[in-house]
Symmetry: D2
Subunit: 340 residues, 4 copies
């Protein structure tokens, strides 16, 4: 056990960065948020004033050079992840990075290679569903044999429609809907099925509402099918146009039963009966849905570092999710199935 709290720096203080920073500063046991990094002065000011983070850097290299730094949290644009992870490892610092690891396979492999040179350092990618209490319960039940042999999965990440189409601006650099959103589902089904390598994928999509996605060769609704080498099959659905809220769900079918996580994206335990029927409100965004999971995730990472334990998911897991994400994106664009 690492005797004193981990000294952590965070790079990226946007919406997600502020969440991670708040968790690290206030709720994660064994963590001490000592420094922040952002190109925006007001974000550093926020960290200082709200969380008491004394040190703010505009430059990532300076963050890594912070005296006594043990670990960094990367909540930066995906295109920076690979280089920033490698720089952290080179600086002798443990690293947690938001998903996805990268949008191309070469970057993933570069990171893996560098990590192999630093076997004492932990590197973990934030596939947050692995830290959600319900998903973990499902995984535990499946491992314990509750549904026999799992062989089929269905998983979706669907966002409430933002009429402003804010996300359209990010389409050109997001890697496309399947790399941006479904990479979560890809990791989740691999984990819950206990699947090996993927061997064939098919995907297709449509623009339901946001016609200007066409310019970025993207769609706002897509489905994909993935076959794994052991015969397992997964179907994936991604949407940015739901009317009712953020609706993440996963279903695993086994030879003795089926387990579903998040069938109804209920906001809480409140049910209303009125002129619209019997109804429940829904989680508006992933932010509310996975609030506890983000905290658990950070706690697990901190514990893993302090106890020198194995992270529950590896860089190879992250690479495989990107590899499949690239394949389904290729299928979506080429309109044919793709062999891996």
């Amino acid at each position: 056990m690492h005797a004193s709290p981990l000294k952590i720096g965070i790079a990226g203080l946007g919406r997600m960065g502020r969440r991670h920073a708040t968790n690290l500063a206030q709720r994660v046991q064994g963590a001490e948020l000592v420094a922040g990094c952002s190109p925006l002065a007001e974000e550093l000011a926020w960290a200082r004033d709200t969380l008491g983070v004394a040190h703010g850097y505009a430059d990532y290299a300076q963050l890594l050079a912070h005296p006594g730094l043990d670990a960094v949290f990367l909540v930066t644009p995906t295109t920076l992840h690979a280089d920033q992870i490698i720089a952290a490892l080179d600086a002798g610092v443990h690293v947690f990075s938001e998903k996805p690891l990268a949008l191309n396979l070469a970057d993933c492999l570069r990171v893996e290679k560098e990590a192999a040179r630093h076997p004492k350092l932990k590197a973990m990618i934030g596939f947050v569903r692995r830290f959600d209490a319900s998903y973990r319960d499902a995984a535990d039940k499946i491992r314990a044999g509750a549904i026999g042999r799992p062989f089929l999965a269905r998983s979706q990440t669907t966002d409430k429609n933002d009429p402003s189409g804010f996300f359209v601006r990010f389409a050109p650099t997001s890697g496309g809907i399947l790399l941006d959103m479904s990479v979560h589902d890809i990791d989740t089904v691999r984990w819950l099925l206990g699947a090996g390598a993927a061997r064939r994928v098919f995907a297709t999509g449509t623009i339901a509402l946001h016609q200007n996605l066409r310019d970025a060769n993207d769609v706002d609704n897509a489905v994909a099918t993935i076959e794994f080498e052991g015969g397992e099959i997964a179907t994936i659905y991604a949407s940015r146009t739901m009317a009712h809220g953020h609706d993440t769900m996963t279903e695993i079918v086994g030879t003795d039963g089926r387990i579903t996580v998040g069938q109804n994206p209920r906001l809480n335990r409140v049910e209303i009966a009125d002129a619209w029927g019997v109804r429940n409100e829904c989680t508006p965004t992933f932010y509310e849905r996975f609030a506890d999971a983000f905290l658990n995730e950070a706690q697990v990472f901190v514990d893993v570092v302090r106890e020198d334990a194995e992270p529950p998911l590896t860089l190879e897991d992250a690479t495989e999710a990107t590899r499949i994400g690239i394949a389904v994106t290729e299928s979506l664009r080429s309109k044919r199935s793709v062999e891996l």
Copy 2:
């Protein structure tokens, strides 16, 4: 087995009467609807034109005198039930009557006494829940020991609010909300608990919307508690002011589990996810909720007569429901508990 179909006459061709008439004429096996009785010529014309019921009588005595008549269905005002049942039995005719048997105990006992003089004739009161597939399944499971020893019940009959307050007109003769509506719940909890005699009741109520019920000494929402001699307890809720629909439900708690019938009064298997959340529409009135049960009920009665079998519920059951209904009504009005 009665070789040929039962020749049945029906008295009362209002909304419920037309439903029973249609079932008897078209869907109940072994039944032949041969005559109708109504003071309204247009109701008789409807039966003739729509269902092919050749004979229409304005007078109940004439109906009973219809040649070859085997049985009558009474869908008439409650205040007529006792006399009409007795007249039917005297005429040697089996009789099915809509609930409740009567609004006072003397009438119930008069009917029981007369029935005892005609042991070959069947008399059955229409507690329709006993013929609903879900309620029957619950009863079967309880009898089979699925929840251990049942000891507590909760049951409600709640109607969607009719802003016109149509029902207020009938308040003076309805016997009050607990005799009019809750008599169903009283019979249901007795049946599902397997309870003996009631020994103490308490009730209270309030007017939520329909202030003019005050003139009839009635309320539009009431709750009651019933203790049975074996220690079983039932709580009852009746309402005329629901916003979402007709919501009939019953819950039985036992030493090894709980069975609930109708927790969510879903209209069908459709679920909608939209700006109001995830929701289902509700059964608008008891009419849709119990459509199949009314058919089953008539079929069971016809089978009982043709096979000379025991009716699944007795006149004593109907009397006990009225007896308890009177007691809770007295408690509601006197604002104190009532011993039986």
Copy 3:
């Protein structure tokens, strides 16, 4: 309006045939079941003794020659449908046939051609979901704009596992899991999406339990994706190995909401809370799930004939379902996407 009841003959008196026969003999208004046809004497005896069907034929041609016959119901093996429909039309008899119309496109087109020569005769294929109250409600809501423009569907037909593998025997002649089971979903999603022609499909599958399906080149679980010319997308799931019951469901996503039919295949309105949690039992087979729909279906067909109305689904609908079913089966076997 056809003044007198339709005189109907039924061919096929197996499990489904007996259901149709019972409905026609006892519950469908305006129908008279006058004759049955089966190669098995005991099936004809059953129809005579139980339903009072006086005439029984071993030969289909004799059934068609029954004096005064208005219509036939075909509940025979799929391989016979095309020829039997054509023979009925040639004999001047309206015809209802169980799904699917045929297992190959040539047969479908032969039937269409023959039907075109008999414009006064009705021919309807039994896609029973179109007559289920919940599916109809969903269709009505979608037509009324409740979910905006529908653009994506998910539909499944999944049977409870039969450990005896009884169905394996029929695999060689069933056309494969997607033609046998998913043809229902294909018709349903076409109907609910209001989709035009399909243009591309992909399918894959796996054997979860019944290894001897391999001999028939079949699987016990399969998924398919269908793209329609208007950009609509449907994903389909078929399984013969569910642990919990028969689970048919369909979900339609539109620009303003989502409608789901049958999310939870609840058996009835009973809910149990015990050591296994809060739970409901499930419909064991399609037989219980669609009991009312089979009755409605027969009633609609009889009404259509008597009122000389348009059937709610056409032979072209049936042909298109077969065409898509063949394409997804080809994809399943070839392991690549198929263009139509």
Copy 4:
């Protein structure tokens, strides 16, 4: 705003005490757990070793004398609450106490009187449901008019049966099932209905399983009805013998709709479909059900003290809950309705 963190001492380090202590030490912002008090040396050792609480006292007076102490948390036996609250106020220390305030009215009034002498000190009783996200959402919706005028409530606290009957030992000092368990429901329905004084109650109960409760004049299942002066009605159910888990729920009926909190006590978002149907597991005890609420509650108390704000519930609320709890207990034992 209180500039530095509140220095807090905790009295009572049993199961609930350890939860409060952990929250205060690790997760409540603006709190510093500086001292613990317990008669058991091992409990003080736990607080020191696990939470780093440097100071441990066997004596409550010593805790209050801890230098610089701002507030105490009382997680002690109910019989001690009144005296300990008064001592805290006399010592100039803010006080949070677990519910109920006391088991008799005199103690409640003594505390109120003492608190009135210390208007600068905060005293709050831990009715934890007021701090649960779902209950708060319901309260907000009701206040905003979502269900019109609320007029009827149903609320239950039902525990999973403990076959060991552990709780039976505490029956003699618990005040009886209605004071011990239902005091939560009483406070909840008062809060959600916005009700004034109670004017009449009725209660009854039964022993379903634990016969030795008879010696303590207690039962393991009880129901109560409460009428408020504004005409609102509440029914309450308490049970110690549920088979499926801890099932706390509340339903509020208004003139325009109904809001229910916790209809199904689902453990999480996992749903299982297998041989037992479609099902979800349940919260085993109140501990898991209200984990977040206990944290919120402590945070609110700390914020109230630091910001010198009004507590969201008053000592008068706590007194009224006890007053009604005593009345329903009297009714349960006397078998008649009780006027207040």
